[in-house]
Every structure is written in structure tokens, then in C-alpha cells.
């Protein structure tokens, strides 16, 4: 790419280009396909929201991006995980061995990740500052003293009062909201190009969640970072994501600009999901659950994965043939036979 890309100043264009990503787990009960033929693209400075229920493959598909999968997982041949590095070069992460130095540089350096459980993501035996400094020193090549200054700065930026004091505290001395903010500080301290946030606010109270969402947006604008935001909460997605991809049983069933998908959902699963959400604004409405249960990953339905729960299924079509993604509007595509 060009020199402007290397300087990180070009404002648009893709930074991540995933094609044909399939992840299979070997288990005692047989192979389980957690993610199947997933494609997505992420542009610089944008936020992609991944929505889906348990077992939909949200986490697995993003962990694959930095090869953070357990040993029994396998990324199928033919998958391409294109990443434009900070120096402007495109690399294919899928071809790199998980334990290679190249992947280690990638983790945290190019793609950082925030997990749901802030307590589980920090080591309890090191101070918070210690853990931020480790990331800074590894990826930004600065000395101990400078790393400490940067760590205090980061904690301050994420809104932790008395950062100079907090930097020497252990994770257990911080409240849940503060720990999650510290986690964000760790993730952002290396100036990653892409931030993957895996249910970063699910374990937090709404008041803290609102603070964290606001903070993430502000920081993102500041450093022009791209973000993949994983959640099962449509309300949160509506507030943070530019585009959303709805996942069901390892597939992306619908994607498009957030407002469009929420205002005019096409896939019966997206329609059902939006109807099932309780709302503070409409008290008298009886909720409409999506019928049936999420199938076990060991018993993946044939054809369209959603056909077992779909009220608009067409016999002989949906249970036999895989629907292909079709464009239904500008940037809005749906994988459903109703729109094929």
C-alpha cells in the first residue's frame, strides 16, 4: 500500500478482510462446526457489531483473527483472514502458525481484545500498572520509566481517578467498572489498529455500561481505531455499531448498516430477535419469543440453519438448500430463501 497508509493517516478503506472462515472443533461427540463460511470486512475507523445468541460463533470467529483458539479447533483450508498491518502491508493471518512470533506481535499490537470478565483477564498477582506496562513495552519498544508514564496516562484517559495511585494497585483493589476500564486501558495502550470487544459491558451495571460505551466511542474517534463489538444486546449494538452482522449457528444471516437492519430487518431470525426484546417504552405488549430452542451444535440442521425455528420456512427448500447471501438494499444483505 501507499506511504499514507503506513503513516496511518488514510481515513477509509478496509483494514480487515475475512473470507470463507470456517472453524471446526474436534470433540468427543464428533466434530462441531462453530463458524461456517463467514465473510466480513471492516473499514478503518468503523465499528462492526456482531450480534447473536449463545453458540452463534461470535466469539470464535473473532478469536480466530488472532489465532486465540483452543488446541482442538481448526481453521478450515481456504479461509483467508486479510489484515492490513500498521506498516501498510496485507498479511493473511490464517496461514500463520498460532505460536509464531508474527502472531504474537499481532496480538495486542495490531489487534487487541477486551473480554467479558475483567477479573479473569487480569493476573491477580501483578499490579494493574505492571500489566499495562508489559503490553506497552512489548509493542511500543519503550523503556520502563516511559512505559510507566504512558500507563498512568492511559488510566487517566479511561477515566480512572487518581491514576498515579491506582497504577500500583492490584486488580482486586479495583471495582468491577474500574477493572473493565483498566482492561480497556491495557488494550488501547499499544495503539492497536483493531479492537475486538467481546461482551465488554455485559457483566456491568447499566450506569457503568453507559460510561464505558461513551468512553470507547470517544477513544475510538481519537485514535481512529476500528472495532468489532460482540454482544447479544441489541440495545447496546444500536448505540455503538455502524454496521451489524447477525449470526445464527455459525453463519452470518443478515448484515447491513445498523439503523437499516434494526428499522427494516429482513431475515426471519432478525425479525424474531427484535420482537423478542423487552422494551421500557412499550409496557403492555406481550413479548413474542422465537419458537423452539437453539439446536445443539452437534445436531446442526441441514439447509438453512434457522429453518427448524422459522415460521416462514418453505418445505423442500429451506430444509435442503443452503441460502446464499443476497443484496436487498445498499450494503444490506440477507441469507434467506425468501429473498433469493
Amino acid at each position: 500500500m501507499t506511504a499514507t497508509a503506513a503513516a496511518g493517516t488514510d481515513s477509509a478503506g478496509p483494514i480487515l478482510d475475512v473470507q470463507g472462515l470456517t472453524v471446526t472443533f474436534r470433540t468427543d461427540e464428533g466434530p462441531v462446526t462453530a463458524v461456517e463460511s463467514v465473510d466480513f470486512r471492516l473499514d478503518r475507523g468503523r465499528t462492526l457489531g456482531l450480534v447473536g445468541e449463545s453458540g452463534s460463533g461470535k466469539s470464535v470467529s473473532t478469536k480466530a483473527l488472532i489465532k486465540l483458539l483452543p488446541k482442538n479447533a481448526k481453521i478450515a483450508e481456504g479461509a483467508r483472514i486479510g489484515l492490513r498491518r500498521k506498516d501498510g502491508d496485507w498479511i493473511d493471518v490464517a496461514t500463520l502458525p498460532a505460536d509464531s512470533a508474527a502472531v504474537r506481535r499481532l496480538r495486542g499490537g495490531e489487534i487487541a481484545m477486551i473480554f467479558q470478565e475483567p477479573m479473569a483477564s487480569f493476573s491477580p498477582v501483578y499490579t494493574v500498572g505492571n500489566q499495562i506496562m508489559e503490553a506497552i513495552r512489548r509493542h511500543r519498544g519503550v523503556g520502563k520509566r516511559e512505559a510507566r508514564t504512558l500507563a498512568v496516562e492511559m488510566l487517566d484517559q479511561v477515566g480512572i481517578a487518581n491514576a498515579a495511585l491506582r497504577v500500583d494497585q492490584y486488580p482486586h483493589e479495583l471495582s468491577g467498572g474500574m477493572r473493565q476500564r483498566a482492561m480497556i486501558a491495557v488494550a488501547l495502550s499499544t495503539r492497536p489498529a483493531v479492537l475486538i470487544a467481546d461482551e465488554p459491558t455485559t457483566a456491568l451495571d447499566v450506569t457503568i455500561q453507559a460510561q464505558i460505551l461513551k468512553l470507547m466511542r470517544a477513544l475510538q474517534d481519537q485514535v481512529r481505531m476500528s472495532m468489532i463489538f460482540i454482544t447479544h444486546d441489541m440495545g447496546v449494538i444500536a448505540r455503538v455499531a455502524d454496521d451489524i452482522a447477525v449470526m445464527y449457528l455459525g453463519r452470518i444471516v443478515e448484515r447491513g448498516p445498523t439503523r437499516t437492519v434494526i428499522a427494516d430487518p429482513k431475515h426471519p431470525y432478525t425479525v424474531g430477535l427484535l420482537k423478542a426484546i423487552p422494551s421500557m417504552g412499550k409496557l403492555e405488549r406481550r413479548l413474542t419469543p422465537v419458537p423452539g430452542d437453539i439446536p445443539s451444535p452437534l445436531e446442526r440442521p441441514t439447509g438453512c440453519p434457522f429453518h427448524t425455528r422459522c415460521d416462514r420456512r418453505m418445505r423442500g427448500i429451506c430444509d435442503r438448500h443452503d441460502p446464499k447471501a443476497d443484496e436487498v438494499g445498499a450494503g444490506h444483505s440477507v441469507a434467506c430463501h425468501l429473498f433469493g
Binding site: G235, A238, I294
Partner: protein
């Protein structure tokens, strides 16, 4: 229906000045510097027969502790819990021993995690039947079987599957098993402690509907504890808002959500992200952290974070008063603050 006054106005449970304090040991070797965490402090409210009271508040506000104190899963430090049962009034806070065990048939609990709350070695039939057997219900196995089938059907479980073990069931089905177990002995009162929080959205809606239908069918009252305000909006007739161990506002659901009078309720509601594009997302940012319940602030406990706090709030504990019919608030300036209508 929601938002309507219940036709049935009979009281079921009166909680009066409930206090649950936990002693904490200091850092010293022999527990020097002991203190007391006032998890629940001077809480009073009433639950009527057949109604759902939603209990909301941030983590550590005492939601679960109140539920457990009423169920006598822990012993209250002070205060009265009066249970109205067939014309009699039972002081639940004073029950002990066998009397308490016998009384448990009237009050039950549904937990949060349907994966952790079912014994994997018991069949679904045995799980649902266990409360009956523990309570020493006579009538023999056939009668118990009959009752189990009846409640399983009511909870939309497939009665053909009662011989199976819990592992064969999905999260939503497991929660229906938990609900069947809680209701099998015909309790008058059930505490639902985050009972739908662990479920996926598409499943959650079905469980909320089921809980409502069961209430219509059996007349059971729920204390519905949840951190998800949208869920509470769907199921509760009345809502109590907790802050650091105290109820700061209580009213009918509609009034709490559309006309909050306490600034904390208002801030809490404003922080909930919704999918409705017409409602702007403008969360009220509260300064600072939730106070430590071992050292609650003076005066109004919310004054350290309240955007409207004045000198009076720091000095004087606000009265719990009925500002509008059935709308109780503990705030010096209730009704005078510019709290925008939500939604």
C-alpha cells in the same frame, strides 16, 4: 395487566423496617477493627397477593439480600416480615426450626443459572417432585406423580420427557424445570432472582410470558429481582428501586418508568440503551462510585453522586413519603426536579 391497579388488593407480605447487617472482620489478625456492612437498611414495602414487584438497583444494592431475608434463607438483623396467610398473619422473621421448614411450602425461589441449579443425577420427575417429598406430602407416589405431571404441563414441559436427566435439556427448558419445581407445592410467593438473566433473548421472552401465565393461573406473587430494567418493565406491576441498601422509590411500573421522581431512578433509566431510534441515548453521568455500604454517606445516601444535591441532602435523611397516589419517594426535592420523562 400491567399498568393497571390490581383488582385483588389484599396484602400478602409486609416488610417493615427490614435490616440485614453483616459483620465484617478487619484486616488485623484477631479481627481488629470490625465493622458492619448494612446490606439492607430500614426497608419497608408491601407485596400484594398475585402481584409482581420488581426490585431493581445496581450490584451491591441489596436486591438479593432482601429476597433471601423474606425467604428466611438468612436471618434478618431487625424488622418485621408479616406473611398474610388465609386470614392469619405469620411473622416470618420469627419462625424457626420445624415451623420454618413447614412454612417454606408457601415461599420458593427460582435461581439465575438453570445449569447450576439442577442436580445432574436426578431425573426431571424427581427434581420437580423433591419439594413435595421434602415437605412430607402424603398421598403416595401416584399422587405426587399426578401433581408433577400437572405442573410440568402447565410449565410447557413435555411430560414424555420427565424420565430424562437435565443434561438432555436446553437452557430454556431447564429454566422451565426450575419454575415447575418452585411452583409444585403451590406457593403463594416466589422470589425470581435474575431468573431470566442467563437466557438468550429469543428464549427469555418465552420464560417471561410463562411466568405471567402461571401467575394468572395460580395467583402466585413474585418478587422479581433483575438488573435488566427492560425485563422488569415487562413483568412487574410495581417497581422498587434500591440504592445502597435502601428503597429510594416505589410506584406502579408505568409511573416509575415514565415519571420517575427520584434522581437516581432517572439516572438509572437514562443509562439503558434501547433500539428505538427516536429516543436519544443521553445517559446521566453519575459522579464517583457507589458508596461502600459499610460506611454509607450521611443524610441522603445518594447525595455524593446526585447532580441536584444541596446542603440539606448532606445533613438530613429524606423522609419516605407518598408524593402521588401509590408513588413513594425518599428525596427532599421529589416532584420539584426537572427529571425528563423517559421513553
Amino acid at each position: 395487566m400491567l399498568g393497571q391497579v390490581l383488582a385483588d388488593n389484599r396484602p400478602l407480605i409486609d416488610v417493615d423496617n427490614l435490616k440485614v447487617h453483616f459483620p465484617v472482620r478487619g484486616k488485623g489478625l484477631f479481627g481488629v477493627g470490625t465493622g458492619v456492612v448494612k446490606a439492607v437498611d430500614e426497608v419497608s414495602f408491601r407485596i400484594r397477593a398475585g402481584e409482581t414487584v420488581g426490585l431493581v438497583g445496581e450490584s451491591g444494592s441489596g436486591k438479593t439480600t432482601i429476597g433471601r431475608a423474606i425467604l428466611r434463607a438468612l436471618t434478618p438483623t431487625a424488622g418485621e416480615i408479616r406473611f398474610h396467610l388465609d386470614g392469619d398473619v405469620v411473622r416470618v422473621d420469627q419462625l424457626r426450626g420445624r415451623a420454618l421448614t413447614r412454612f417454606r411450602r408457601h415461599m420458593q425461589l427460582i435461581f439465575q443459572d438453570p445449569y447450576a441449579s439442577l442436580n445432574p443425577r436426578m431425573t426431571v420427575r424427581d427434581i420437580i417432585a423433591e419439594p413435595l417429598e421434602c415437605l412430607g406430602d402424603t398421598g403416595g407416589r401416584a399422587a405426587i406423580d399426578e401433581r408433577v405431571r400437572e405442573i410440568a404441563e402447565l410449565c410447557r414441559l413435555n411430560v414424555e420427557h420427565l424420565r430424562r436427566f437435565p443434561h438432555a435439556f436446553s437452557g430454556g427448558q431447564r429454566q422451565r424445570i426450575c419454575i415447575a419445581r418452585a411452583l409444585v407445592a403451590g406457593p403463594k410467593f416466589v422470589v425470581c432472582d435474575e431468573s431470566v438473566a442467563a437466557l438468550d433473548v429469543s428464549i427469555q421472552a418465552g420464560i417471561i410470558n410463562l411466568l405471567k401465565d402461571l401467575q394468572d393461573a395460580t395467583g402466585v406473587a413474585y418478587l422479581f429481582i433483575a438488573h435488566d430494567l427492560s425485563v422488569v418493565a415487562q413483568i412487574a406491576h410495581r417497581v422498587a428501586v434500591l440504592y445502597v441498601g435502601q428503597v429510594v422509590e416505589m410506584a406502579e411500573t408505568r409511573d416509575v418508568f415514565f415519571g420517575p421522581l427520584h434522581p437516581y431512578t432517572h439516572a438509572l433509566l437514562s443509562a439503558v440503551p434501547t433500539i428505538e431510534p427516536e429516543s436519544a441515548f443521553a445517559p446521566v453521568t453519575l459522579a464517583g462510585e457507589i458508596p461502600n455500604p459499610a460506611r454509607p454517606p450521611s443524610g441522603c445516601r445518594f447525595h455524593t453522586r446526585c447532580p441536584y444535591a444541596e446542603a440539606r441532602c448532606r445533613a438530613e435523611v429524606p423522609q419516605w413519603r407518598e408524593v402521588a397516589p401509590e408513588h413513594f419517594v425518599a428525596c427532599h426535592f421529589a416532584g420539584e426536579l426537572p427529571l425528563a420523562r423517559h421513553g
